[in-house]
């Protein structure tokens, strides 16, 4: 348990983003080894490793690959680099420090599923990271890792880097594919799942940046090596982003199963300004709040789910005792309102009304009955939206009402926010 740098083990090496340096650290040996294997054997290897998707849902990667219908070509591999979950900045870190590792993972995944054209969809805001990947793809093409007859092995592969333009919803895989096809980034009905009918109606696999970054290491070291790390249902490591009220915010690669306490108190340097911990969120904006009593829960998909939240995209947001939980929830709700694509009514209208009600709490005009009204609106969004964006918009605010109802009541009683801000001190 604890720090276990696998993906990030060479991140201290200077100029790792350059091909020659990356190769010097053993880069692309995983891809070369993969090219010597049968694609089916690769799928079995990744299945056996127990790798689960790191984008948020935690679906087993090997299984996802094996859903592609036999004999249907062309098929596409799409790497989801549209990281936009508030609190999450791990993909950015993985891309900007080691773009070739991401690219090598994309190549391995593409070869394993029999794709000759792969895409990396990166969010528009990540311009420096776009440039890092663009540079890596150019270098790889010149070195013969991409193009016709890759490394003389008779396999053709090209990678297209596609830049988004500011839409959180495009991180949802079907919306991402719609966006990649040149349409408005609205989600599609599932089924059919992308594995059957994805990009341009062809069989498609969508994998997250961190997921594919694991692949070179799994190919090189084997499934047993990988599955020896972590928990029974959460193998390997995860790159955790920790932010908010801690002394050392940043990215830390930890073995799955490490207690939340260690991430916050040791790696994150503990709660800042010698204050007490009030609450934390283990999976970014979408996920339910947890309390200090949950500190000994393990960083693991299933353990966190059991505690009443979700590991999501691996973003730990820490809140100290001075935090106004109502305002924190208000920001997230406004975020979802802003990012709702407008396709379905519960999400488009529901997030709008939740945001309006939250404003009345901060503005001092809320009534006591508005707390239950929020719950009611949330209940009518969750499970009734077209895609998970709407559902997720309700999880954090509802969990905050569950644990911190008294703060909402205080806002009503005092006609405004009881947490007085001290501007000069708040800026460290």
């Amino acid at each position: 348990m604890g720090l276990k740098p696998i993906l990030t083990k060479d991140f201290g090496v200077e100029n790792l983003a350059q091909l020659s340096v990356y190769e010097h650290t053993g880069g692309y040996t995983g891809f070369k080894k993969a090219l010597g294997m049968q694609p089916d054997a690769l799928v079995d290897l990744v299945k056996a490793s127990g790798l689960r998707g790191r984008g948020g849902a935690g679906f087993p990667t090997g299984n996802k690959w094996s859903f592609l219908p036999k004999g249907m070509y062309p098929r596409y591999l799409v790497c989801n680099a549209d990281e936009s979950e508030p609190g999450c900045f791990k993909d950015r870190y993985l891309i900007e420090t080691s773009p070739h590792q991401v690219l090598e993972g994309v190549m391995i995944a593409a070869y394993a599923i029999g794709s000759n054209l792969a895409f990396i969809y990166i969010r528009g805001e990540y311009l420096p990271q776009y440039e890092a990947l663009e540079g890596a793809i150019d270098e790889a093409r010149k070195a013969g890792y991409l193009g016709k007859n890759v490394l003389g092995k008779g396999y053709d592969l090209d990678v297209i880097l596609h830049r988004g333009a500011g839409a959180y919803i495009c991180g949802e895989e079907t919306a991402l594919l719609t966006s990649l096809e040149g349409y408005r980034g609205e989600p599609r009905l599932k089924p059919p799942f992308p594995a059957i009918k994805g990009l341009y109606g062809k069989p498609t696999v969508v994998n997250n940046v961190e997921t594919v970054s694991n692949l070179p290491h799994i190919i090189l070291n084997g499934a047993e090596w990988f599955s020896a790390m972590g928990t029974p249902t959460g193998k390997g490591t995860r790159v955790w982003c920790i932010s908010g009220h801690v002394n050392k915010p940043g990215n830390y690669e930890l073995e799955n199963g490490t207690p939340i306490r260690e991430l916050i108190e040791v790696h994150g340097g503990g709660v800042w300004k010698n204050r007490k911990l009030k609450a934390f969120q283990p999976g970014g904006a979408s996920m339910m709040v947890l309390l200090p009593e949950h500190l000994d829960v393990a960083l693991d998909f299933d353990a966190i789910a059991k505690a009443g939240s979700m590991a999501g995209a691996g973003a730990m947001v820490v809140m100290d005792e001075t935090t106004c939980m109502v305002d924190a929830a208000r920001r997230y709700v406004k975020f979802f309102q802003h990012e709702s694509c407008g396709k379905c009514t519960p999400c488009r209208e529901g997030t709008f009304w939740m945001a309006n009600i939250f404003d009345t709490f901060e503005g001092g005009t809320a009534k006591g009955t508005d707390i239950d009204l929020l719950l009611d609106v949330g209940y009518n969004i969750d499970g009734r939206s077209f895609c998970p964006l709407g559902d997720a918009s309700t999880w954090f605010p509802r969990s905050v009402i569950k644990y911190f109802r008294d703060e909402f009541e205080q806002h009503v009683a005092e006609k405004g926010c009881p947490f007085k801000k001290v501007p000069e001190e708040a800026v460290a």
Partner: protein, 196 residues
């Protein structure tokens, strides 16, 4: 009228994708890099180059928040006010920016140098909050002094699309002693280490 270089770029990217409609976003980016924003006329030109109806280009572009529809300041400053940034003083920093620039959220300074706005859309800089993006480059661990120094530099720096290679160019010359944070080298901001 789009430059020949931009027009070529649009046609080249259309040829790379299995469907030319996929080239709409790359085309819109190419236009914005050349002209600073995307006009209806430019979308008409994109439509011609791609052989698609102009309405399709507009339908797609209006969905995405990063395409500008009118000219703005030479530099774009965007500060994140989502919860993780709020926790580390984004509201106070936003108030400081407004005071310092003397114009409201969404407006441009009278000299035309800077358009600023706050955003609830996370920019992926929570680990360096409070943070902002200047012409899509990360500026993190902001202090009042740091923000002032950035604005000082921006007042005299040309817009990114006015510099030779639009999206390769670094809009702002790096601060003395600080390494340039451009793609291939030194992209890692301080404080983002996984282990010490």
């Amino acid at each position: 009228m789009l430059s020949k270089e931009t027009a070529d770029r649009i046609r080249e990217s259309a040829a790379r994708y299995p469907s030319k409609q996929s080239a709409i976003l790359p085309a819109l980016w190419a236009v914005q890099h050349e002209q600073g924003y995307v006009t209806q006329e430019a979308m008409g030109e994109i439509a011609q180059h791609l052989g698609l109806p102009a309405s399709l280009i507009e339908a797609t572009s209006s969905f995405y928040s990063m395409f500008l529809t009118r000219p703005e300041g030479r530099h774009e400053v965007v500060i994140c006010v989502n919860a993780p940034c709020m926790l580390r003083g984004a509201d106070e920093m936003t108030a400081h920016i407004e005071r310092r620039l003397g114009v409201r959220d969404g407006q441009t300074t009278p000299d035309g140098a800077i358009t600023w706005h706050s955003t609830i859309e996370c920019l992926g800089g929570c680990g360096g909050a409070p943070m902002m993006q200047v012409d899509h480059r990360f500026e993190e661990d902001l202090t009042y002094e740091k923000v002032d120094a950035i604005f000082e530099r921006l007042r005299s720096a040309p817009a990114p699309h006015e510099m030779g290679q639009p999206h390769k160019a670094l809009a702002v010359p790096p601060v003395k002693g600080e390494k340039a944070r451009s793609g291939a080298e030194g992209a890692r901001p301080r404080g983002r280490k996984t282990q010490q």
